[in-house]
Subunit: 127 residues, 2 copies
């Protein structure tokens, strides 16, 4: 459970925690059933307030990715089935991002290649 935070006011801290846990979940470095550190523990490790960590945990719980259990920390849930709602939101964000790339001069081929590379890298099980 190694998280690195950048305090330079770029991306909110709770978002960085959320993003990195999402990355660990996507890469199966955190598998269903495994435990996450307690809110207070992780907050201490990251030298961050307990509410900042909690906010990230609550977001993950609301997304159905972890369960927050009283007195037991958080546990990783099973991979949810593909949901049309998530697929729609994902598609919308993806279109925004792709539009930005195209408008900035990236070629359709390069964008497609970057996407396939990202999927391949991230969906790889850990060594």
């Amino acid at each position: 459970m190694i998280l690195l935070l950048d305090h330079s006011k770029g991306r909110p801290l709770y978002r960085q925690i959320y993003d990195q846990l999402i990355g660990a979940l996507a890469g199966r470095r955190l598998s269903p059933g495994s435990r996450l550190p307690t809110v207070r523990r992780l907050a201490a490790d990251l030298s961050v307030n307990l509410h900042t960590v909690r906010r990230a945990y609550v977001m993950l719980a609301e997304a159905g990715l972890i369960s927050l259990e009283r007195h037991n920390g958080a546990r990783v849930l099973a991979l949810p089935p593909p949901s049309p709602a998530l697929s729609d939101r994902f598609g919308a964000e993806l279109r925004r991002l792709v539009a930005e790339g195209l408008a900035g001069g990236l070629t359709p081929d390069l964008i497609t290649e970057l996407c396939q590379q990202a999927v391949a890298d991230l969906s790889q099980p850990p060594l």
Copy 2:
């Protein structure tokens, strides 16, 4: 020049303006050399403060996509060449987004398909 704003505090207004102009640029509905409305004009049309529109325009100008000309409004610039810096930023954001999709249960195949579809739709010239 039809822009629709959502005032429900989801995405900042200046960002929505920026996003929609980016979309028009990516889809070639705004081609190099063409004019954008003046800051004051667009602000009036959108019932929004002039600074809000200006912020979007300045972001586009800083990205090298339009030129802000005194007394002449803004003009769309030529499509910039692919830049490694943009490619890197794009790749990083794409990986974040893909990780979120994978963690949420979307399959690698579905994600790849959505990406190809987005590229195909957006890089299509207007009818």
